[in-house]
């Protein structure tokens, strides 16, 4: 799932400074799950903006809307009437949602209120960790289902480095597990340590085409 977190308020306040009527638009999928841009966060941000402006003594009218997936044109179209009413849209969706919105309403500034951070999973209530770097060339079959590209601080394909700490922790951050120790333990459990004997050449990230495109086979 895509994880995002709200931008610093200063940044948001700055980019909405010129406007007197805005729409705070949430997304009901990934960013709702990670507490960054669902209906609740929309309500909180809208309330904060109203309070901020009333404290400054300047007017603002803040509308609120949350669509199921902001990265779908059809779903975004559902709020077009609300968008028509405002001068600018503040989107709490991931970058993909912001762009869909911006493309749909080309005459309106669509401003991002969250930073799209990574693809991850919840470790516990309210804490998400990065799991996938979306590198486009999945390596997990060789690493016991643990991605060294994002979970190793150095993104090594052939690890561990010489800096693993006692207790299997990372030299860069003693709080974090060394991904390669995790990989070793996992492969050991599966009796597949031989996989680690192989050397893997560095990935050629330049080969990843931007923008990426995925065409599913026609069913």
């Amino acid at each position: 799932m895509i994880i995002a977190e709200r931008k610093p308020m200063e940044e948001i306040k700055q980019f909405i400074a010129p406007y007197k009527k805005v729409l705070v638009a949430g997304c009901g999928t990934c960013v709702t799950v990670c507490w960054a841009g669902g209906e609740k966060e929309v309500a909180v941000l809208a309330s904060q903006l109203r309070l901020a402006r009333s404290a400054e003594g300047s007017e603002i009218s803040v509308l609120e809307a949350t669509v199921e997936r902001q990265c779908e044109r059809e779903m975004v179209a559902e709020i077009k009437d609300k968008v028509a009413e405002v001068e600018a849209v503040i989107s709490l969706a991931c970058g993909s949602g912001v762009q869909t919105m911006a493309e749909m309403f080309e005459d309106k500034p669509v401003l991002p209120a969250v930073n799209t951070t990574f693809i991850g999973m919840p470790e516990k209530e309210g804490l998400w960790v990065e799991m996938c770097g979306a590198c486009g060339d999945c390596f997990l079959d060789r690493t016991g289902g643990i991605c060294p590209i994002v979970r190793c601080a150095k993104g090594l394909l052939n690890g561990p480095c010489g800096g693993t700490r006692r207790g299997g922790k990372c030299e860069i951050d003693p709080e974090k597990d060394c991904a390669w120790v995790l990989i070793y333990r996992r492969l050991e459990k599966q009796g597949r340590l031989d996989v680690m004997r192989k050397y893997y050449a560095p990935k050629n990230y330049r080969a990843v085409k931007r923008p990426g495109k995925v065409q599913a086979s026609k069913a």
Partner: protein, 678 residues
């Protein structure tokens, strides 16, 4: 067409003096939807109730507001009145104009009373009827354990006609009962044969629980017995897994090393000593015996009892010299004071020491060196046997069971969180109970009380085969739920599961039976999908809306109905006055207060917001007050972020019997508000 709202004002037999009821009635009559306003002086008495019923019927009233005493007292009575009038009992909202208005302030409070009624009228507009239903439950009970508590719970449940399964991990029942025999004169064999002969009791030995799913009335339990796995359904689960004891010496490696060679011969446990006492072929009777207790662990109710019993028995049987080293004798169990006196009268010598005695062993004798508090001198005793201090500890499987059932342990690792809101034998999860030694250091009298309490509780729950519930009191809207699992992770009562209703997508399903109506889930849901009837955004915001219209800044206080709300009532009763601008919104738990509700209060012009919940470690819903505190901090951060100064949000812990603390909290926030220039 607008809903017809009937408002009933009551002056409580003249006990509400500083409100001009005619003025209130005149103003209230103008509120939209209010079709009639009635004045009464005895609304909760038969006469008043009858008048209320006939008025509701004659005027075709659809929703009711009662402005009178605190809902803590009479809400249930007025709900019944509604039911009798043919309305759903939940279409009632109360304005507390007695305890939290008339009695709480000096001088005329008519204006405040009008505002409180307005809050109630605003709220009642949004209230929805709630259906009642009887949910069928499984009448079988699982009792985990095979000791004294487990056996007796099963026997008593059988007597009230409930079937039980005794799940014992050992190969036989009542393994540890021998120990108790000499203390209390039990005959384990008779207890076990009673269980074995009981048709309502199924015994499963060498078996343990491996997984549990579901909720009260319908627990699905996986049991591993030998090589096979059995799946069974139960309505309730009772844990009676007992305790274990350990010699206090075991924790000190040096002593253990010193005594390794002789331990078990010269230094023994209470249990080993019991066996020696019963052994007819014991060759030499010990002449001098030392006992020790209450040095390492102050929870020594049971060790005290064991020491006194064994010391007396040894004195009577062998006539030995007996010296008891102790820090404090715990005589709070029934009959222990007498036992202690008897032991002294028989010549058992008690030596009090503040620090644990030094123990050494040489040539088959144990040397105890202690500093006697009363003599003020060192005492050295060489004895044949030392019955060492025992620690009373949770049984091995306690931790495993707690994670399996997702229930909390106390700070010592026993079952049941230390929380005054939990009854002795109940857990935070409905339908799971504890009994006996697995929850505390208990003597027999207390264990018997536990057993009776559990039997009464379980019988009340399951005997009729169904439990009445309010249908969908708290519900996740399947259309809005994104299955983020947040509510499942935060529910303190384990009442929420992922369900797939009608083969549609997976959503959070809240069990009406297991839900304890705290609203923690509703306040945290990022999709705003969870609705708690009576406390939905609409209902809370409608109340805030009513208080927002005044100019001089109100303090909005969200008060937990288990703590701060009754404390506020008490403050009124005791005439402890506090600023009149306080407006209380009653909530089921401080954990139900949504950040958004706090921000909205400010949007509507509140000068400050208070969140008042239970004392630390005593939240009725376990984590509600902790979450409330976190949310208040978060809210302050949100306000700081947008540089909205001078809008204080504060959380205070107030117990229901602490009206002074309530008043202090209100004064405190008033002071902060004034300082910040509002």
């Amino acid at each position: 067409m607008e809903t017809k709202i009937g408002v009933f004002l009551c002056n409580c037999g003249g006990a509400i003096k500083n409100i001009d009821f005619d003025a209130v009635a005149k103003k209230v009559a103008k509120f939209p939807g209010v079709t009639c306003v009635n004045l009464s002086s005895n609304l909760c008495l038969e006469e008043g109730k009858e008048k209320m019923i006939s008025c509701i019927r004659e005027e075709n009233i659809e929703k009711v507001v009662v402005a009178a005493c605190s809902p803590e007292f009479n809400e249930h009575i007025f709900r019944e009145v509604l039911e009798k009038s043919g309305l759903n009992g939940h279409l009632l909202s109360m304005a507390n104009i007695r305890e939290q208005c008339s009695w709480a302030h000096e001088g005329d409070v008519t204006e405040k009373a009008v505002e409180l009624v307005k809050m109630a009228v605003n709220k009642v507009r949004f209230l929805q009827p709630m259906e009642k239903k009887a949910v069928p439950v499984n009448r079988e009970v699982l009792v985990v354990g095979g000791g004294f508590s487990a056996i007796n719970v099963a026997l008593q449940l059988s007597r009230v006609g409930l079937q039980t399964t005794l799940l014992e991990k050992e190969t036989v029942l009542g393994d540890g009962l021998e120990k108790l025999e000499s203390f209390y004169g039990f005959y384990p064999s008779s207890m076990i044969s009673a269980v074995e002969g009981d048709r309502n009791i199924e015994i499963m030995t060498s078996a343990h629980m491996t997984a549990v799913e579901g909720n009260i009335g319908d627990f699905g339990v996986r049991i591993r017995k030998g090589g096979e796995e059995i799946f069974r359904k139960y309505g309730a689960i009772i844990l009676a897994t007992g305790y274990k004891t350990e010699l206090a010496l075991d924790s000190e490696p040096k002593l253990r090393a010193e005594n390794e060679a002789i331990s078990g011969i010269n230094i023994v446990s209470q249990e080993q000593f019991c066996r020696m006492l019963r052994n007819p072929s014991l060759k030499t009777k010990p002449k001098t015996i030392g006992f020790m207790f209450d040095f390492s662990d102050e929870n020594s109710r049971f060790p005290t009892l064991a020491t006194l019993n064994n010391a007396l028995a040894a004195k009577k049987k062998w006539g030995s010299e007996i010296y008891v080293f102790y820090k404090s004798v715990k005589v709070d169990s029934e009959g222990v004071e007498k036992l202690y006196q008897e032991a002294r009268d028989c010549g058992v010598v008690f030596l009090r020491s503040e620090i644990p005695p030094r123990i050494t062993a040489k040539n088959g004798r144990v040397k105890i060196e202690a500093k006697d508090v009363f003599l003020g001198e060192d005492v050295i005793l060489a004895c044949d046997i030392l019955v060492a201090e025992e620690l009373y500890l949770p049984a091995e499987e306690t931790e495993n069971l707690s994670s399996l059932l997702n229930i909390r342990l106390d700070s010592r690792g026993f079952f049941q969180d230390e929380n005054v809101h939990l009854y002795p034998v109940t857990s935070e999860k409905k339908g799971i109970f504890f009994v006996g030694g697995c929850r505390d250091d208990l003597d027999l009298g207390r264990v018997l009380t536990d057993i009776s309490s559990v039997v009464i509780n379980v019988n009340e729950l399951l005997s009729s085969g169904k439990i009445p519930v309010d249908v969908e009191r708290v519900k996740a809207d399947p259309q809005k739920c994104v299955a983020c699992l947040t509510c499942i992770r935060v529910c303190p009562h384990g009442a929420i599961q992922l369900i797939r209703a009608d083969n549609s997508k997976e959503v959070a399903g809240i069990s009406d039976l297991a839900c304890d109506a705290c609203g923690i889930c509703a306040a945290i849901c990022p999709a705003k999908a969870i609705k708690f009837q009576g406390y939905r955004d609409e209902e809370i915001l409608a109340q805030i809306e009513a208080i927002g219209e005044s100019s001089n800044g109100r303090i909005v206080a969200f008060c937990c109905e288990h703590s701060a709300y009754p404390a506020a009532d008490l403050a009124g009763k005791l005439k402890l006055h506090y600023p009149e601008n306080l407006r209380v919104i009653r909530v089921p738990c401080a954990g139900q207060v949504d950040v958004f509700h706090i921000l909205k209060s400010f949007e509507k012009g509140a000068a400050a917001v208070l969140v008042l919940g239970c004392e630390d470690g005593a939240c009725h819903h376990i984590t509600g007050n902790i979450r409330a505190k976190e949310r208040v901090n978060y809210c302050n951060m949100l306000l700081k972020e947008v540089r909205v100064d001078g809008r204080p949000v504060a959380m205070f812990n107030v117990s229901p019997n602490a009206p002074h603390k309530f008043v202090r909290a209100v004064n405190e926030i008033t002071k902060i508000t004034k300082e910040s220039g509002r």
